[in-house]
Amino acid sequence: MSFPLLTATAALPALGAVATAAVPAARRTAAKWLALLVSLATLVLAALVAVRFEPGGDRYQLTESHAWIKDFGVRYELGVDGIGVALIALTALLIPFIVLAGWHDADPQETGSKRWRPTQGFFALILAVEAMVILSFEATDVFLFYIFFEAMLIPMYFLIGGFGDRAHEHGEETASTQRSYAAVKFLLYNLAGGLIMLAAVIGLYVVAGSFSLQEIAEARANGSLQMAATTERWLFLGFFFAFAVKAPLWPLHTWLPNAMGEATAPVAVLITAVVDKVGTFAMLRFCLGLFPEASKWATPVILVLALVSIVYGALLAVGQRDIKRLVAYASISHFGFIVMGIFAMTSQGQSGATLYMVNHGISTAALMLVAGFLISRRGSRLIADYGGVQKVAPVLAGTFLIGGLATLSLPGLAPFVSEFLVLVGTFARYPVIGIIATVGIVLAALYTLVLYQRTMTGPVRPEVSRMPDLRARELAVVAPLIALLILLGVFPKPLTDIVNPAVEHTMSDVQQKDPQPEVEAAK
């Protein structure tokens, strides 16, 4: 038996979480270093997964399969396709930066803090989330996926509710109330989605007699499993609802601005750049893979919801007064693009959507983490409290601008590649929707540049006049992210090579062919 690489990639951060939590109270710094080292080692394993994966090979590779709950046919079954590899790589890549950016976020504020070893807990929870996210990208057993999909809510809940920004304009009391409201809202929305999905998971088992993605797909392909259209649609809706909450899609999005606003910037990145990606990933793998006919049936409605998300999220971002909420609404707009690309059912749309998941993760991390550095300096999340920062902290302002330019999908940076693919893939099948979505391009420029103008330009406000520029640790977080944004914008081929074959499989799942160009079709 070969080395279980996929299990190891998830087990390492899980064990790391336990070890970090067990570090004695007085050794805070050791816990931080331990968490950082574990996350870096996980990155090495994830890189190994990417290297061992053969783009032209089987659909699911590095597979592992063990019986688990024999009576109910639940198996511990792992395997990755190109999309999974890309997202595991993204997750493993971002966690070290999240750890490094949140280095001081969980330092006890004063002696006599009632909280039990908050620092150790903070980093252990981050690693726990990483383990579960990676497992949900790997699971090819529906039930196994469901377990991790739900279980990651618990550490996320504590991360949102337990750790907030150091200074808060309304005082610690209010902040604490708002935090727990945000955390509970996060939990309830996602649990509600999860419960509905659970019903669908069980329904699927009743109908198909198996939880295995591959078995079900084979049975459907060779005709031994017939699903009535109505049944398929109900099951599809059950799955899709959970993923649409997580993604999040309009109108189920309102938990995200609360959660991202109240959480510390690194945790906000964890939510939007990593955890939410499980939702869009699962749409591709489970909704399209298990219920192709129902997916096509629901496409018109989903595309409209995605379009509403794009425009609505962007407009709301324009109207925000809080930096972190602005980024949250921008993310809602971007998730609209991802969902649109998935359900456009073209190769370009789906490849674009997958690249979008990766690129959005990196660009949001860059923007949000710099925003976090800014907020920690001034102790306010309000845009109006800043002004003229570029004069006193030019490197901070410059990196913030690059993060913003990535968010508005400037050509040359990675998000442009994915956004254009999604647009062109959608346009090929649904021209009107594709054209309306381009409104998002203009609005993205508006909210990003307005944010930059109000915070960074103009006369220097007295409150920011002594603001220090980026420190070495902070630069170590931002510089690699920016380098990646440029690299993947100029040379995305390594990523597309991995993703393309997986998208071909998905396209054949839903039995769709790309529309042919008019001129060639005529010939």
């Binding site: 009576d71 739900e150 809510l153 809940y157 109330t177 727990s180 509970v184 809202k185 939990l187 649990l191 509600a192 419960l195 659970l198 019903a199 069980i202 009743v206 309009w250 109108p251 309102t254 609505y312 407009l315 709301l316 324009v318 109207g319 925000q320 190769s347 370009q348 490849s351 570029q390 004069k391 050509p411 040359g412 590649v417 254009f420 693919l421 062109v424 346009f427 090929a428 594709g434 381009t438 409104v439 391009i441 203009v442 420029a445 540049l449 103008q453 330009t457 103009g458 006369p459 100029v490 995305p492 081929k493 393309n500 071909e504 790309d514 042919q516 160009p517 008019e518 001129v519 005529a522």
Partner: protein
């Protein structure tokens, strides 16, 4: 030779990277690094140019495929370059004028503590603009297209501590983004129609599809061109862009970047040729803009804004010519090149004047400067004669050809477009004479303290008007600034004759753009004579108003048209009321709706389903953990129950 193409872009790109990441230790040499790399790019351009001249007209195109950029099933975008006579013309203009402006900036920005960064941005601009004209497909062109937009944004807002500069930069980027949407949609249409967006296959297959599709593509390309080239209705950003340092106005907002729209239309000639309706729209946009810009140019007292109006107007000529199809393409580009010389020269002259006048931009505070700045006066004067089309100088040859081609369009359209172009020439002569007279002739109005304008009487008078006014000491600029001005003046004088006589430029560019001789309803000589007549009329009126009579140091209230023109013919007011105010109301109400309605309805639905709302309140009081546990407990029970049922 092909391998040198990438070097054209790589040199300034390297400069941008080094200067922007290099930090303070490069402050002392940054401007030299930037200038040398710009010059290196120009030198490579000259090598490629001489090589190109050595080959016959049909074999001049060089292509270089670098690597596969975005390979996705059914979709192919490459990083590949295409150098033909059209891109060669641009390469020489961009890197040549670009290098001159780097040299000029060494002196102009000498006292700016962020000079290194300025040169980094300039190099970034050169790299992006060269990528724009060298790309062999529309998507790569898009990268250059937005890259120059970014450089323009950074440079307009270079003095970011000035709120007006930051606002102007944002406005330029946003208006350009609206145009970029056009480019995006055009590329998407090409993809669904032709299956590709590389120049070669798209332009070769343009005839294979219906006129409707081509008209749509052409109109979307026009929208993109309107944004970048400041054509009506997307022209409003150019005047504000003058907030940037003057070398930027000369290079980006006069000589090169703003002409990218003309490049796009001429490059896509095969599409436009097959879409006559779109071509008509192009000519109308050009004609309207050439008059619009000219009228605005007449009313501005800010020397840079007057020149910006003029830029808009001159690009209107080019767009008009490009819309005429094969009878106009060559002349559009020829005017683009000559305009690059004289407009860059005029802007550098304006910068030189400002440099000697404590950064004053109000022409009513100038006067009689020819004595103090002789070199600036002569070079600016030659640029002036070139732009108004004084016989024998550059503008005369290139503008005359456009007016002739406009008449040659034939029918009523030809008369209207030709008439508009002729009227524009008269107004050009008027406003440029006005600039010339107000700046270099007449009384020395800067000797007296400024009197507050009656319109702004409630404004607190500035420091220098409270008694301690010290008049500026106008002086000639250092040679790093005057030498580029002299070189450009040389081009302003001779380029037109060099290109025009013997149809040199025509033969050079014809293999790429194609050419058809137009037949104007009146003889070419009549057109030329008419341009000279309107030129004299324009100059005479300006002389009567600003030469014979002293210029008031404070602007008179003016007619309704003058006041409207000062406000850019109310375009900004319209934008403000409709887009800015309307947008603010929309987003504010949406924020409210999201907070109360969407959130409320979703929460409410959940509450009515599971009675969650009451529990939510309880949870906030600290029961969340137990709740989460109970939720999972419930889930487990549910699983067990279902599985049990199945077993039964």
């Amino acid at each position: 030779m092909e391998n040198l193409i990438a070097l054209l872009i790589a040199a300034p790109l390297l400069g941008a990277a080094v200067l922007l990441c290099g930090g303070r230790r490069l402050d002392a040499v940054g401007h030299w690094i930037g200038t040398v790399l710009a010059a290196a790019s120009f030198a490579v351009g000259v090598v490629l140019f001489t090589d190109m001249l050595g080959r016959s007209a049909e074999e001049r195109t060089l292509t270089r495929h670098l690597y596969s950029w975005i390979p996705v099933e059914g979709f192919r975008a490459d990083v590949a370059f295409h150098l033909d006579q059209l891109s060669m013309t641009f390469v020489l203009l961009i890197s040549g004028v670009g290098t001159l402006i780097h040299v000029y900036s060494i002196g102009y920005m000498e006292h700016d503590e962020r000079r290194r960064r300025f040169f980094g941005y300039l190099n970034l601009f050169l790299a992006a603009m060269l990528l724009l004209v060298l790309a062999d497909n529309y998507l790569l062109l898009y990268v250059g297209w937005e890259g120059v937009g970014l450089a323009s944004y950074l440079l307009i807002g270079f003095w970011q501590h000035k709120p007006s500069a930051a606002t102007a930069a944002k406005k330029a980027f946003l208006v350009n983004r609206v145009g970029d949407v056009g480019l995006s949609i055009a590329i998407m249409l090409m993809f669904t129609t032709f299956g590709t967006f590389a120049f070669g296959p798209v332009l070769a297959a343009a005839g294979d599809t219906g006129e409707g599709k081509l008209t749509a593509i052409a109109l979307m390309l026009l929208l993109a061109a309107c944004g970048k080239s400041a054509q009506v209705p997307l022209q409003s950003w150019l005047g504000d862009a003058m907030e940037g340092p003057t070398p930027v106005s000369a290079l980006i907002h006069a000589a090169t970047m703003v002409t990218a729209g003309v490049y796009l239309i001429v490059r896509s000639g095969a599409i436009f040729n097959a879409a006559p309706d779109a071509q008509l729209v192009v000519t109308v946009v050009g004609a309207v803009t050439l008059l619009f810009g000219a009228v605005v140019g007449c009313a501005k007292d800010d020397i840079k804004k007057a020149l910006a109006g003029s830029t808009m107007s001159q690009i209107g000529y080019m767009v008009l010519a490009a819309g005429l199809g094969p009878i106009g393409y060559v002349f559009a580009i020829m005017h683009l090149v000559t305009h690059g010389f004289f407009k860059a020269g005029l802007f550098l002259g304006a910068g030189s004047v400002m440099h000697g006048m404590n950064d004053e931009v109000d022409m009513r505070r100038y006067g009689g400067l020819r004595k103090y700045m002789p070199v600036t006066f002569v070079t600016f004067g030659l640029g002036y004669l070139a732009i108004i089309g004084f016989p024998g100088l550059s503008g005369f040859f290139s503008k005359d050809k456009i007016i002739e081609a406009a008449f040659a369009k034939g029918g009523a359209e030809g008369w209207i477009l030709g008439g508009a172009a002729l009227l524009g020439a008269a107004i050009t002569a008027y406003y440029m004479t006005r600039v010339m007279l107000m700046t270099f002739f007449g009384e020395e109005r800067w000797r007296d303290a400024p009197t507050p304008s009656p319109a702004e009487s409630d404004v607190e008078p500035a420091a220098e008007t409270r008694g301690e006014y010290t008049p500026p000491h106008p002086h000639e600029s250092p040679s790093s600034m005057t030498i580029p001005m002299i070189v450009l003046a040389f081009g302003s004088v001779f380029a037109g004759a060099f290109f025009g006589i013997g149809d040199r430029f025509l033969h050079w560019l014809e293999p790429v753009t194609g050419h058809a001789h137009g037949h104007p309803p009146v003889s070419a000589l009549t057109v030329t004579l008419s341009t000279v007549v309107v030129l004299i009329v324009g100059v005479a009126i300006a002389w009567a108003q600003y030469g014979r009579r002293p210029v008031p140091a404070v602007a008179p209230r003016g007619s309704l048209l003058t006041r409207a023109a000062r406000r850019d013919l109310l375009q900004d007011d319209f934008n403000h009321v409709v887009l800015v105010r309307g947008g603010e109301h929309l987003t504010r109400s949406l924020v409210y709706v999201d907070h109360t309605l969407v959130d409320g309805v979703v929460n409410g639905t959940a509450a009515s389903v599971g009675g969650l709302s009451g529990r939510l309140r309880k949870l906030q009081n600290g029961y969340a953990r137990s709740y989460a546990v109970s939720m999972f407990g419930g889930a487990a029970v549910l699983v067990a129950a279902t599985l049990l049922m199945r077993a039964v």
